[in-house]
C-alpha cells in the first residue's frame, strides 16, 4: 500500500509537487528551482544549497538536460548519455527525498514517469589532519574526518583490495545517518560479522551523535567501566585491525571509528610500537601496563600502608615519612582524596579550555597548589609525589576510554584501601580481575591472551616480538585466514 502511495507515476504531477513542497516547508536550505520544458510542461530541480557542486551541476546536468526536447527527455537511454557519473532514476517519492537529503540533485518533470537523480555532491568539510588525541612519531599523520565517504576512501587507499568490504546501514530514526561496518572478506569471521550486523540492524534510537552511542547500545556488558570497543581516529590503526580480522564501525558525522572485537591489552598499544624495533615495542608496551597498575593502585597503596601496614615501610624511609606526615591534620584518605580530586579538576579544566589558558592552569595546579598545599601543612611531601606519579602514569595510557576507566577505579581502590587496608586493595583487584575475565567483546574473551591463556598471541599483546615471528594473525577475532601473507585472497 505504502509503496503505491509513494509512487510518482500513480499521482498527477501537481499532487507530487504539492507533496514535496509540503515536506520541504520551512526548509529554506532545500531549493526547488522551477524550469519550463517543451510542450508547456514544467519541471523542478531539487537540491540542498551548499551540498552540491553547483558549477558542475549547471554545466553537466542542468544545461544538457534542458537542451533535450521533451520527447528525448522521456527516453531513459538518451538520458543515460548525460555527462554525469552518478546518474540514477527513481519512481519512489521517499527515495527521491532521501537522495536530496544526502546531497544529490533531483530533477522531476511533468509527464516524466521517473525522477532523475544526479549525485554531484560537494560540501565543506574538514581537511584530513593528524588526530590531536592520537599523535605518533613514525607513522602516517593522516586522520579520519567527519564524512564517512572520505573515510571509506581513506581506508580503500590503505587496502587496495576488493576484499575490503563495507556493510552499509541507515541508523537513527530521526537523523537517518549512514553507518558502515568495514571488514576484509576472507580474513574476518562471517559469524562475528553476522552478529555485529544484527546488532547494528536492531538499533532503535532517534539519532547517534557519535560512535560511542552505537557502542553503548551494542555492548555485551553495558555496566562495565572498561571500554569493549576501541575508538580510534587513525586509519593506519584501523587498517592494522582489519588485517587481524576485526571490524571497524564507521558513522557519518564523526571522525572516530570503533574497532571490535578488542582485548584489554590492545588499549595499551600504539601504532608506533609496531613501526619500530621490537625491543622498543616490548619495552614501551610493558611500561604502559606497569603505568596503568600504578595509576590504579598507587594512591590506594599509600593510604593502606600509612593507615595499617606502616611496618612494611623500610626504616630509612619511615622516619622522613613520619616527619612529613606529622604536620598533616587529616587521615591519609582525606589527604589523598584532596589531592586526587584537585588533580581531576585540573585535568578536566584543561581538556575543555583553549590552549593559551591551559598553560596558566599548569602553573596554578603544579606550582601553587602542589607547593602551597605542602607548606600549608594540608598534605605531605610524599603525597604530592604519589599524586604526581599517578598523574603521569595515567597519561601514559594511550586510549582515553581506558584512561577514564583507570581514573574511576583508582577512587574505588582508594576508598576500599582506607577501610580495609591491603585486603581492600586485594578485594578490589581480584574483583577487577574477575570482571576482566568475565568481559567479552563481541563474544570474544576480553582478557586474552593472558586468560584464557594463548601463549602464541603473547607476541602481539603483552610483549611485541619481531615482525618475522608474527606470521599468524592473533586469535582475538577468530580470523578465517590465520596466516599473514595470503591477504585474504
Amino acid at each position: 500500500m505504502d509503496d503505491d502511495e509513494n509512487k510518482l507515476s500513480n499521482h498527477p504531477f501537481e499532487d507530487n509537487i504539492n507533496k514535496i513542497k509540503k515536506m520541504l516547508k520551512d526548509c529554506p536550505d532545500i531549493i526547488m528551482r522551477k524550469v519550463n520544458l517543451d510542450e508547456n510542461k514544467s519541471g523542478f530541480f531539487i537540491y540542498i544549497d551548499g551540498m552540491v557542486n553547483i558549477d558542475l551541476i549547471q554545466r553537466d546536468f542542468v544545461a544538457p538536460l534542458l537542451c533535450l526536447s521533451f520527447e528525448k527527455m522521456q527516453d531513459e537511454e538518451t538520458l543515460r548519455n548525460l555527462p554525469v557519473t552518478d546518474l540514477r532514476f527513481t519512481d519512489d517519492l521517499s527515495i527521491l527525498i532521501e537522495n536530496v537529503l544526502l546531497g544529490s540533485t533531483v530533477f522531476i518533470g511533468e509527464g516524466l514517469s521517473r525522477a532523475i537523480i544526479c549525485g554531484l555532491i560537494s560540501f565543506d568539510k574538514r581537511n584530513i589532519q593528524e588526530p590531536i588525541t592520537e599523535k605518533n612519531i613514525k607513522g602516517s599523520h593522516e586522520g579520519f574526518v567527519e564524512s564517512i565517504k572520505t573515510n571509506m576512501t581513506i581506508l580503500r587507499r590503505h587496502v587496495r583490495n576488493t576484499n575490503l568490504k563495507f556493510k552499509m546501514f541507515t541508523i537513527g530514526k530521526s537523523t537517518n545517518q549512514m553507518c558502515a561496518v568495514a571488514y576484509i572478506e576472507g580474513i574476518a569471521n562471517p559469524d562475528l560479522l553476522k552478529t555485529l550486523c544484527e546488532k547494528i540492524g536492531d538499533l532503535n534510537f532517534d539519532g547517534f551523535i557519535g560512535v560511542g552511542y552505537i557502542e553503548q547500545f551494542i555492548n555485551d556488558h553495558p555496566n562495565s567501566p572498561f571500554p569493549q570497543y576501541q575508538a580510534t581516529e587513525r586509519p593506519d590503526k584501523t587498517t592494522a585491525s582489519l588485517l587481524e580480522g576485526r571490524f571497524a564501525i564507521m558513522l557519518d558525522g564523526t571522525p572516530v571509528v570503533s574497532i571490535v572485537p578488542t582485548t584489554f591489552f590492545s588499549f595499551f598499544r600504539a601504532v608506533d610500537d609496531f613501526n619500530s624495533n621490537w625491543i622498543f615495542g616490548t619495552f614501551i608496551g610493558s611500561v604502559r601496563i606497569f603505568a596503568a597498575l600504578i595509576a590504579i593502585f598507587l594512591p590506594g597503596l599509600y593510604i593502606s600502608i600509612l593507615s595499617y601496614h606502616y611496618y612494611t615501610v623500610p626504616l630509612s624511609l619511615l622516619i622522613p615519612l613520619a616527619e612529613s606526615r606529622s604536620r598533616v591534620p587529616f587521615p591519609p584518605l582525606i589527604e589523598a582524596l584532596l589531592m586526587e580530586l584537585t588533580l581531576e579538576l585540573l585535568r578536566e579544566s584543561t581538556v575543555r579550555l583553549p590552549t593559551f589558558v591551559v598553560n596558566s592552569i599548569g602553573v596554578v595546579g603544579g606550582i601553587i597548589i602542589g607547593q602551597a598545599a605542602v607548606e600549608a601543612g594540608l598534605v605531605s611531601n610524599l603525597m604530592v609525589i604519589v599524586v604526581a606519579i599517578t598523574a603521569i602514569a595515567s597519561f601514559v595510557v594511550p586510549n582515553s576510554d581506558m584512561g577514564l576507566a583507570i581514573r574511576v577505579l583508582r577512587f574505588i581502590v582508594m576508598l576500599f584501601s582506607a577501610a580495609f587496608g591491603v585486603i581492600g586493595i586485594e578485594v578490589t583487584a581480584t574483583t577487577i580481575m574477575a570482571h576482566l575475565v568475565t568481559l567479552e567483546s563481541l563474544g570474544q574473551p576480553y582478557f586474552q591472551p593472558l586468560i584464557p591463556l594463548k601463549p602464541k598471541d603473547f607476541k602481539d599483546a603483552v610483549i611485541r616480538l619481531h615482525l618475522q615471528t608474527m606470521r599468524k594473525r592473533p586469535d582475538v577475532a577468530q580470523p578465517l585466514d590465520k596466516k599473514r601473507g595470503s591477504g585474504g585472497n
Binding site: 601496614h309 611496618y311 587496608g421 581480584t430 574477575a434 575475565v437 582478557f447 586468560i451
Partner: protein
C-alpha cells in the same frame, strides 16, 4: 543437550580449577595440622593422601563413564530411587554448604591473624564474598578462567623455595618412616580438606566438553597438587624443623616472613597480596558448585525457580537464561539468600581453633561420604550393568531361537 554456554568448560580448564582449589587455602593451613599429627613424617602422609585420592578419582571417573552426562546427584537418584537418592543428595549438599562456610571462615581467620586484627569478621566475610558472588552469577567458565591466576602463586612458591633452599636441613626429615601404618592412615584425614577437591569431578562432569580427557587431566591436577603439598612440607620441615613447625600455624607464610630482601626489607605483605587470589579461588569454586546445586535442588521443591535451575544438567529450555531479566533477578535473589546462609553458618564458629576442630569433623564426614558414595555407587552400577547386559543377551538368544 542444552547446557548454558557460560558454564561449559574444557578438561584443561577443569584441571587448573581443581588444582587451584586444592592448593589455595590448603597449602597455608594443612602443613601445620599434619605436622602436629605425625611430626616429620608429614610429607609421607601427604604423598599417601595424594595416591589414595588418585585411586578414588579413577573410581569416580569409572562411575561417571557408566552414567554419561550425569552428575553425582543424578546418579544417586538413578541408583537409589527418588526419595533415598534425594536424602543422600541432601546430605551431600549439607556437607557442601558446611564446607563452603568453613572455607569462608578459614580465610577470614587467616586474614584476621595475619593482617586485619581488629576488623570485625562479619565485615571481612562480606568483603571476601564480593568476588565469589560476582563470579557465581556469571557461571563456571569465568571462574575457570580466573583460576589461571594460580600460576602466579606457583611462581611465588618456587621463588620462596629457591631462596630458602640453602637453609634446608634434610636431617630434620630423618628418620624416614618411623611411624605405624594405621597412624599414618589416620593422619591423612588432615589432608582431606584439600585433597577432597577431586570430588569436583562428579559435580561438574556434565559441563565438561571433552569428557574423554577428564580423567587424564584430573589425575594431572592431583599429581601436581600432591607434589606441591609434599614439597611444601619437605621445604618447611627442612627449614624450621619439627619442633618449631608444630608452633607455626601458617608455615609457608612464615617462610616469606623470615626472608629479608634488600630495599623492601620484608616481603610477607607482598606474599599475601599474591596469594589472595588463590585463597579466594578455593572459596569461589566451592561457593559456585554449592550455590548451583542448591539452586537446582530448590528447583524441585519450588517450581517457580526451576526455569534456570536445570541449566547445569542440560534440561534447560530457556537458552538465554542469563540474558532474561526475570532469570537474572531470580539468580541475584537466590545468590543473596545463599550468601546470607553461608555467612550465617560461618558465624557459628568462634575462632581459628574452633575452625580447625570443625574441619576435622566435616572432613571425616566428607571422606566417608565421598569415598562411600564412589565405591558403593560404582559397585551397584556395575551390578546393574551386568544384569542389564545379561538380560539383553538372554533376550537376543530368545529372539534368535
Amino acid at each position: 543437550m542444552n547446557i548454558n554456554k557460560e558454564n561449559l568448560i574444557t578438561s584443561k580448564q577443569f584441571m587448573i580449577l581443581i588444582f587451584s582449589t586444592m592448593i589455595g587455602v590448603g597449602i597455608i593451613s594443612t602443613p601445620y595440622l599434619l605436622v602436629k599429627e605425625v611430626g616429620h613424617n608429614a610429607w609421607l602422609s601427604a604423598l599417601m593422601s595424594g595416591i589414595i585420592s588418585i585411586l578414588l578419582t579413577i573410581i569416580i571417573s569409572r562411575l561417571l563413564n557408566i552414567h554419561k552426562d550425569k552428575s553425582i546427584f543424578g546418579i544417586n537418584k538413578l541408583l537409589y530411587g527418588k526419595y533415598a537418592g534425594m536424602a543422600l543428595n541432601s546430605l551431600y549438599l549439607l556437607y557442601l554448604i558446611l564446607k563452603t562456610s568453613i572455607i569462608l571462615r578459614l580465610i577470614i581467620e587467616i586474614i584476621h591473624i595475619i593482617i586485619m586484627k581488629t576488623t570485625p569478621s562479619l565485615i571481612l566475610s562480606i568483603l571476601a564474598l564480593i568476588c565469589p558472588f560476582y563470579m557465581a552469577f556469571y557461571g563456571l567458565k569465568p571462574i575457570c578462567r580466573f583460576s589461571n591466576f594460580v600460576f602466579l602463586i606457583l611462581v611465588e612458591i618456587i621463588f620462596l623455595y629457591f631462596v630458602s633452599f640453602s637453609h634446608i636441613r634434610l636431617s630434620f626429615l630423618l628418620p624416614v618412616g618411623n611411624i605405624s601404618l594405621p597412624s599414618l592412615l589416620y593422619s591423612m584425614r588432615s589432608t582431606a580438606f584439600s585433597f577432597l577437591g577431586f570430588a569436583f569431578l562428579w559435580l561438574v562432569y556434565p559441563v565438561i566438553t571433552d569428557k574423554k580427557n577428564a580423567l587424564k587431566y584430573t589425575i594431572w591436577a592431583m599429581v601436581l597438587s600432591t607434589l606441591l603439598f609434599t614439597s611444601t612440607i619437605v621445604v618447611t620441615m627442612g627449614y624450621f624443623g619439627e619442633n618449631m613447625l608444630k608452633h607455626i600455624i601458617f608455615p609457608v607464610y612464615y617462610l616469606a616472613l623470615v626472608y629479608k630482601v634488600p630495599v623492601f626489607e620484608r616481603i610477607d605483605l607482598i606474599f599475601l597480596v599474591i596469594w589472595f587470589p588463590a585463597l579466594s579461588m578455593t572459596l569461589k569454586a566451592y561457593f559456585f558448585v554449592t550455590y548451583y546445586w542448591l539452586y537446582q535442588a530448590t528447583g524441585y521443591i519450588f517450581p517457580k525457580i526451576k526455569s534456570n535451575a536445570n541449566a547445569f544438567s542440560g534440561n534447560n529450555k530457556n537458552k538465554n537464561s542469563l540474558t532474561g531479566v526475570k532469570d537474572k533477578k531470580k539468580k541475584i535473589v537466590f545468590l543473596i539468600l545463599f550468601s546470607i546462609l553461608i555467612v550465617a553458618v560461618s558465624r557459628i564458629l568462634k575462632d581459628y581453633n574452633h575452625v580447625l576442630k570443625t574441619i576435622e569433623i566435616t572432613d571425616m564426614i566428607g571422606v566417608s561420604l565421598i569415598s562411600g558414595m564412589a565405591i558403593i555407587d560404582l559397585i551397584i552400577s556395575l551390578i546393574k550393568n551386568a544384569a542389564g547386559s545379561k538380560n539383553k543377551f538372554k533376550a537376543e538368544r530368545r529372539a534368535k531361537k
